[in-house]
């Protein structure tokens, strides 16, 4: 009994040391940044999220998923080799002595509360649940990234994204606590007013979601500004300004044509001014402005339609969101 107690103490010390050694980038916890040095070429034994501010190595499960999801990586031999080496040399010693998440679970278990021993009370359910780890490994760690890669061209690390408790505990909580920028972005993939992607939304789409790189043009705002009153003609001169966004991933090729119409162009609306062009509209959350002068604008309230890429020259993921109707008020002269 005394021996067992001594062994438990020894094990706790080793687990604590393993946690410290694997997560020794302590300034990261203060700055809310992660270690980016060469040690991250090596995977740590155990479930240790590499987005943890302290992590000095890579997570083997995360790396395996990234390897399977990446279309340019093919088979992640190095990660598979490391996982196999850990298993062959250390076996379950990793779970009991090295894995930081295993230690955390043990500490949680020490909290005095009623414990359910499924193996005794619900043996059949326990036996079924034992397959859960196999299902998790094969389904979310291996098959989902791989199948998504085959079907869409780019997979996602599904286990990290949807399940991994180590990521939330070791990376999510410390990073969001210390990094104000990330905290501001958390949960805000889209701006609630403009419905365009925020920085996090862009990053999510680029690095995590696995969706193919695209171009999608859409006007997001239309404003008519009363500029100069034409005292000679007695009519108004307005400047119409439209904000055009490419919420895809890559820059739209060539010049993007933008047209302004008085009324719906499909119902006989007339073009206002000449065609305007935007060169090199990059993918992202920042719209570009385009303007046209509306000479001799008659007073009243008018429906103005802005159409981006009217001839559908640029291939987009959604060709249906290229126009925007705005109501422009022209004061009486």
């Amino acid at each position: 009994m005394a021996n067992l107690k001594r062994l438990k103490i020894k094990r706790n010390i080793v687990q604590g040391l393993a946690l410290l050694l694997g997560n020794a980038n302590l300034p990261g916890f203060v700055n809310g940044t992660i270690y980016q040095g060469p040690l991250k070429r090596v995977c740590l034994p155990g479930l240790n999220c590499y987005s943890c501010p302290g992590a000095l190595g890579a997570c083997p499960i995360g790396s395996l998923q990234n390897g399977l999801a990446d279309p340019f990586w093919r088979i992640p031999f190095y990660v598979l080799g490391l996982l196999s080496l850990f298993g062959l040399v250390l076996g379950r010693f990793i779970c009991g002595w090295l894995c930081p998440f295993g230690w955390f679970q043990e500490l949680l278990h020490k909290i005095r509360s009623p414990k359910l021993n499924l193996a005794k009370s619900h043996a059949r359910l326990h036996k079924t649940l034992l397959w859960g780890k196999t299902a998790m490994l094969s389904g979310l760690v291996i098959l989902t990234p791989l199948l998504l890669r085959v079907l869409t061209g780019y997979g996602i690390p599904a286990f990290c994204t949807y399940v991994c408790p180590s990521g939330t505990l070791m990376a999510g909580i410390p990073l969001l606590s210390a990094n104000e920028g990330l905290r501001g972005l958390a949960g805000w993939l889209f701006d609630s007013n403009t419905h365009i992607r925020t920085g996090a939304g862009q990053a999510f789409r680029r690095y995590v979601s696995g969706l193919p790189r695209t171009v999608n043009l859409r006007p997001v705002r239309l404003v008519g500004e009363y500029a100069v009153q034409d005292s000679v003609g007695g009519a108004n001169a307005l400047v119409l300004t439209a904000a055009v966004l490419n919420n895809g991933e890559v820059t739209a090729g060539g010049d993007v044509r933008v047209r302004f119409y008085l009324g719906d162009p499909d119902l006989g609306g007339t073009q206002i001014g000449s065609d305007q062009f935007i060169r090199g509209l990059a993918g992202g959350a920042i719209p570009r402005l385009v303007q046209v002068n509306w000479e001799d604008a008659p007073s009243g309230v008018w429906d103005v339609v802005v159409v981006v890429d009217p001839a559908n020259v640029v291939a987009e993921t959604d060709e249906q969101d290229n126009r925007l109707l705005g109501r422009v008020s022209v004061p009486a002269s």
Binding site: G62, G67, G81, A171
Partner: protein
């Protein structure tokens, strides 16, 4: 002659061969991975904050 360990079960001949084969396969996988510079790919991913992991993605 060495005496068998009292608590650790000795591997059977089949188990020894299987383990040796697994070691060989592991060594080959690691070698191929290193030759293909996969450590760079691991590094590339590991130095980016995984937004999915932290609950933003």
């Amino acid at each position: 002659m060495t005496r068998p360990h009292p608590h650790i079960r000795q591997l059977t001949r089949t188990e020894s061969i299987r383990r040796a084969l697994l070691f060989a396969l592991t060594a080959i996988a690691l070698l191929v991975g290193l030759l293909r510079d996969e450590t760079r790919l691991v590094l590339q991913r590991a130095i980016q904050i995984c937004l999915g992991c932290i609950g933003i993605g």
